[in-house]
Subunit: 345 residues, 4 copies
């Protein structure tokens, strides 16, 4: 089968690989219908993700059709259309029982990381019964692909952790795909204001179309000041960090008001300076989270009922044969205006 | 009247001052019966608290008897015995209505800071109806003094923010008065283990008597390692920072397990390094809080019903005339083994 | 001044009364600009509300302008435009501090009940600082009148108590003004389905316009069956009772699914049969609540930001001189299709 | 093997039955070491539990040793000592993922009800990996038997649902085994007062030894009055119903104060009258719950750390051969003073 393979820092190729097979009774083999590329895949290609070794088929998002299931799988059968969660969850360990699927002792984020992933014609899914979701009749498959990772990530790490609530004031720092996913899902809780902050006017324009009530281009270094003016000196209730560098995290430290939350989504590569000398008395919380994808069923209901339309994130389409082009387009997002790219397998 | 006055960095004196008078309809004048010294008072004397100017009468804890009340005060009258909250709360502003008394727009921590405090024969209490509590018949007044600040601080900033719960594992870094207050109040939630960490063996011995299930002297720099061994590599559910320096906060970063909380109580003077490069995916929360003293009535019930005995924190007694000695004893706590000192006015 | 007075069961009149005066330091006298009639006022007129004695000026909703304030009032002054909460709250008692303003020991629902109310040219508001809200510049005054009672009631007793959440399924039994207020405010949490149940097709048509995803006319006695079919046998997550008679409460008992909530808003006059022989094992909650109006500031933000438009509830307008007509129109709601009637004072 | 079999209303016998065998890949066969009798077993014997048909081996509690496991079971192996949960949970269905194991679509309370149970030498446990718990080295096996059902039932249905909290006031109506389990576990949250109400002085004496701060013999019909006096007219924060008849539920309706909770544990056979004509405005919640046994791991930690000692509930010991005697003793609890009886298999 065709598969997109990480070959070490800076190396990638579409290769021919043997089809995966059932290894454990809980496995399912899924024929991929649609997949996509995540910002994390770009990190892997740069060599920044130590757990992912050369030779790995990338990808942790997608929808497909079940080809075969292991002996222990009773709730799925060949032919079922399924949504693949980016997080594999055994459903049995202490973390899974607490809803922290990301820390599943035999799962978590393993697809396209420590085992082969979804950017291929077929993929093996461990713990299939608790890591796949049936796709409802008539559902939009591209919307479903957005439920594999990006929507639950924006929602769980940003919106839920950030305690977004009716009438509250939210700032989202970073208007890339993940910040926009937070923007879309934040509106499920009807905050009064959502202020989107980025360096790129195009992305801010997208944010306005997606429901931001204010946008701030922070190129001039005055974003904190502007937010303080907008909030009459109080700061925001929720500051969502959706970039992953020290400067954006520290901007969040400046934006958050007393009693507020900084909800970190960004994947950070180095420490940040935490200004406890001012924050110790501000009654704030800072949260971190690797997505658990525990809200996927709930988000699916909001998509099916028309409360959010995640296909608005899809900007480009490719076939699996064109996946190198897809990576190129996604990698040059500022120029191409790419958000999420769909790859039809 | 006699009053203990801050005279600028390094300067302190017991002076003669005029008695305070009612200034606003919501005020009460309270004759102090017992007060105490807080670690924060030592910070003020060093000149570390910018809001507190020379000439200020210090002290934000105590019990007393109401002498007179302003025209707007209907729920207290002369002769009532009262507990003085370290936090003044108007009960009307948005923060007070959210239970964030510490951020009251006309109150908060003002006593012995921006207005004269309790280390005197009399004190003026603004917003008296929402900043004083009646002392129940037969209550131990020294226990009540512990409810002004130290017990709610340990409980709100450490235990509640840290989500201590039955069967959970807690580490408290710092076994001084505030860490011990967290230790006492943590037991209201029956955690399975409370690990106390300090550099001073005497304080750790006190912690064992107060209910710590383990103590670790961190002088050898191996506290994190030891905790990981004790928790079989998982880390703790709650790490309470009760010191206020970068090293202890970073120890908490190392101790906290996935899904856990770092609850900061410490008053920090400089930034700390937050290791988001590892913590971003650990699903943790970090909380800060200036005590709101919103749990004072609830803690009073637990004291009255014998669930906790805060008088265990009291190690020394002085009269107001001896307050310079009291400061000396409290300031040399390592030698004197002082925890809280009671000053009888 | 002109005032609408309850004269005993079945008796009502527009009378001439002396203007109210400041009685306590915390009072304010408010000149009424707009008021409205509540279903509870009809109950009083029938003689069903024992606490309300003949001679009482009715009304507990409205907006107005402050005429004078008592000596203890510092946050409002003559000329301020204010929203009057139906619940008077002292801000000091234990219930107020817990956010249960409805049970304020010297307040609660007293306006137009145990003290004179708002259906008059002037009203005295006790505990003014914690029972009035400033009206933002440019706010729609008729929207503000809806924030006195009906919107917080639908939201607090129905939506918050019912734990309405994104993707959930809600049934609201009763499509009168209060059920519609619950319908409007439920959408702040983006449930997937809101099923509205009533006997009156006109009100169900209104419900559809207000956002109900399904409506059921329960005249045929098959509402429970229909809901079970719609939910594939599972029942709803939230059943909101917005009528107040045994039959509608028991319908809620039949609709609620395992793990769900029955949130009672209705004012009941007699006991209901609770089928614990089936419900004991269903893991449900039943909640009751007299509105606390503690969410008024938050709802005001959602109105100001355009998330909800409560003026959709306003169907008729009258002057204070026409208040008997207003009562007649409101009392014959089935015929007149009245929801809320505005009375301009 | 020997097994205790329900033979229809009023009929019971110790019979010889074939050993159970693995039926599904997720099954385990457990050799019973210790089991016990539940009040529900008495209900079954009377013919009150429609789902349990004649011929059924009873029992849903116990500890044992794994004999064999199905092909899909990877986390347990022959020889492991295990605690058997009274609730079988697949870990995969929507209810299991929400922590509502009691409503598992292929599990729930099935043991000794719709499939054969634990009052036998061997039992087949479906969904073994998510329905059994490893017994820690050195744990007291009789304490572990109390974790199968009675402790989680008292804790989840009574204490957690009832929101027992530090300093609060709790009333428990019914001082039988389940009420006493609620009493033991309520103390994990340090309420100020626990008032135990029963008709039997012996059981109330036990309650005092177990930590009740007050006991009331309600034979004189004045329990509500007495509680109101004790709480100075306010009622209790939490009223736990641990009997299951209308009179005790209605007592709870009288005891609960504004803002409080009635947490129902009792298994009810008929409807109760709910006095909404007074309760509609009291801001209360009523909860029901079939135990989910989702807190078993947490309770196990509190037992292992010595916070609660559930062996205090064990009053009698029998062998499996003597199980008819055990039922007799347990069935005449008033005379025998039996709480929980241990049966050694």
């Amino acid at each position: 089968m065709k598969a997109f393979v990480y070959g070490g820092p800076g190396k990638k190729a579409l290769e021919d690989r043997p089809r995966p097979e059932i290894e454990n009774p809980g496995d399912a083999i899924v024929k991929i219908v649609k997949t996509t590329i995540c910002g994390t895949d770009l990190h892997i290609l740069k060599g920044d993700v130590a757990t992912c070794e050369p030779g790995r088929i990338l990808g942790h998002e997608g929808v497909g059709v079940i080809e075969t299931v292991g002996a222990g799988v009773t709730t799925f059968k060949a032919g079922d259309r399924v949504l693949i969660s980016c997080i594999s969850s055994c459903g049995k360990c202490e973390y899974c029982r607490r809803g922290m699927y990301s820390h599943c002792t035999t799962g978590g984020w393993i697809l396209g990381n420590v085992i082969d992933g979804t950017q291929a014609e077929y993929v093996r899914i461990p713990h299939a019964e608790t890591s796949l979701y049936p796709i409802p009749e008539g559902a939009d498959e591209e919307a479903m692909v957005m439920l594999s990772d990006i929507l639950p990530t924006g929602f769980e790490c940003g919106v839920l952790n950030g305690k977004v609530s009716p009438g509250s004031t939210v700032a989202i720092v970073g208007s890339g795909p993940i910040g926009l996913a937070a923007l879309l899902t934040a509106q499920l809780y009807s905050p009064a204001d959502i202020i989107m902050i980025d360096l790129d006017d195009n992305r801010l324009e997208v944010a306005r179309r997606f429901g931001a009530t204010r946008t701030i281009n922070s190129t001039d270094g005055k974003a904190a000041e502007t937010v303080m003016t907008l909030t009459r000196g109080r700061g925001v209730d929720t500051a969502i960090e959706a970039v992953g560098v020290p400067a954006t995290f520290q901007l969040c430290e400046q934006l958050v008001g007393p009693g507020g939350v900084i909800a970190n989504i960004g994947v950070h590569g180095k420490p940040v300076e935490l200004h406890l000398e001012t924050l110790w008395s501000r009654n704030i919380a800072i949260t971190t989270r690797l997505v658990d994808a525990v809200t996927t069923p709930m988000l699916l209901k909001t998509v099916q009922s028309g409360k959010i339309d995640p296909t608005r994130l899809v900007t480009h389409h490719f076939t699996l044969d064109q996946i190198l082009d897809a990576y190129d387009t996604f990698g040059r997002a500022t120029e191409t205006k790419a958000l999420k790219v769909i790859i039809n397998a």
